[in-house]
Amino acid sequence: MQVKQVSVTVNGETYTTEIEPRLLLTHFIREVLGLTGTHMGCDTTSCGCCTVLLDGLPIKSCTYFAVMADGHEVMTVEGMALASELHPVQQGFHEEHGLQCGFCTPGMMIVSKALLDENPNPTEDEIRWALSGNLCRCTGYQNIVKAVKWAAHKINSEPAAYRR
């Protein structure tokens, strides 16, 4: 059995460890690092619950081998909050009731953050397209869209505080 040494930066902290190449990034994050905010939903590349940022772009971590992340930067839901407060997207999900059971929520929030990093002023259509790879069985999506709009408004009202 081949074992590879990798160095992966997750939420700003670099972890160097030995792993089997077949280890999926989701399992690496959850079981090796103990960061259980990232969820495994379908395990078949369909639901988006496992979404994390890889070098700033959202990907399905259940369809990515952890060994591929060697030298790259990963952000999970645990890395979203700012030093002094929750990220505006997290605040938006709270304010607008953007979740019920919460299972899809980490993925939804990570995708929303990536959208607002690229396009801080999205239309409703753009929000819905950005979220179209993420499934929610509870909310009917309305409040998720509202939450992202809330976050966009917050970011645009204080751009110095929130824009990258």
């Binding site: 059995m1 081998f65 591929m68 993420n134």
Partner: protein
């Protein structure tokens, strides 16, 4: 779900990758976007002994236009294609196809070359490439050759690469002095594979049609070219008569299977209607 164990190599250059593929032969699989390969490995439909991850190779994610057409790098992801103004201006079939392939998360990883190599009968890009007369540049340690898409996709999930060859680039010729392209796809829900899809790319040089490309998704054992439909248009013009004839020919070219996405008759009718719609949009007879 864990795939069976495999050996992992991640070369930094194309040359190293080619040497590894030559060394391991049939035991090795190239990993590009991984959006088909990794799910197949997890389901244990594929269990390669060696994975050659090409994602570390720099400079393979590009779209450039030069005299005679477009060159797209072997690691160019759907994300890049969807955001390209060049495609929107002159390679419209691809620009129209991009946002309809999979979902935004898959589009952040999936690559054009990977998708063509995968040769899924329900893949959208294969139809686009047929309609636009694209070709794949294949390289091995012994040389480089350009394979026209018609000879590249040879069956369901089958391409014509030899062992030791890797896809490194896609080429798309200029579609004409003026051109129009559109990809119309019926899907059950956003992100789904096509129930049926039609790729159309029309070019005009002078007053008449100098390029007529029409190809279909999900209605045969691979993406197919609707040659009869193309012949009905070449050298002529788009009018109600030629459009209806081309649409009839396209419907006649397909051999859809009845499945959970719809009946054979239904898919065939979709092909006729979508061909007519795309050509009508091309003719400016009515809005798409």
């Amino acid at each position: 779900m864990y795939p069976p164990p495999f050996e992992y190599v991640a070369p930094d250059t194309i040359e190293e990758a080619l040497a590894l593929i030559a060394q391991y032969g049939e035991d090795a699989k190239v990993l590009s976007g991984g959006m088909s390969l990794i799910p197949l490995m997890k389901l244990r439909f594929a269990s390669p002994a060696v994975i050659v991850d090409i994602n570390r190779i720099q400079g393979m994610d590009y779209i450039t236009e030069e005299a005679g057409g477009l060159r797209i790098g072997g690691l160019t992801r759907y994300r890049t294609l969807v955001r390209s103004d060049l495609l929107k201006a002159r390679y419209m079939c691809m620009a129209s196809c991009g946002p309809q392939v999979a979902d935004p998360l898959v589009r952040n990883r999936g690559t054009l070359v990977g998708s063509l190599c995968h040769a899924d009968p329900q893949g959208d890009w294969g139809a686009c490439m047929l309609a636009m007369n694209g070709s794949i540049v294949a390289r091995s340690t012994t040389g480089t050759r350009e394979i026209p898409i018609d000879q590249f996709i040879v069956g369901p999930f089958q391409n014509s690469l030899n062992p030791g060859e890797m896809g490194v680039e896609v080429k798309v010729p200029s579609q004409g002095e003026r051109s129009f392209g559109q990809y119309l796809k019926l899907e059950r829900k956003v992100g789904d594979f096509a129930t049926a899809g039609v790729a159309v790319s029309i070019g005009w040089t002078g007053g008449s049609i100098s390029h007529a490309g029409i190809a279909l998704t999900g209605v045969a054992s691979a993406n197919i070219r609707a040659s009869g439909a193309e012949a009905a248009l070449m050298g002529g013009s788009l009018n109600q008569g030629t459009i209806a004839e081309a649409a009839r020919q396209a419907a006649g070219a397909c051999d859809p299977k009845t499945d959970h996405r719809g009946s054979s008759e239904y898919k065939r009718e979709i092909i006729r209607v979508y061909t007519e719609r795309a050509l009508s949009a091309a003719a400016g007879l009515r809005a798409a």
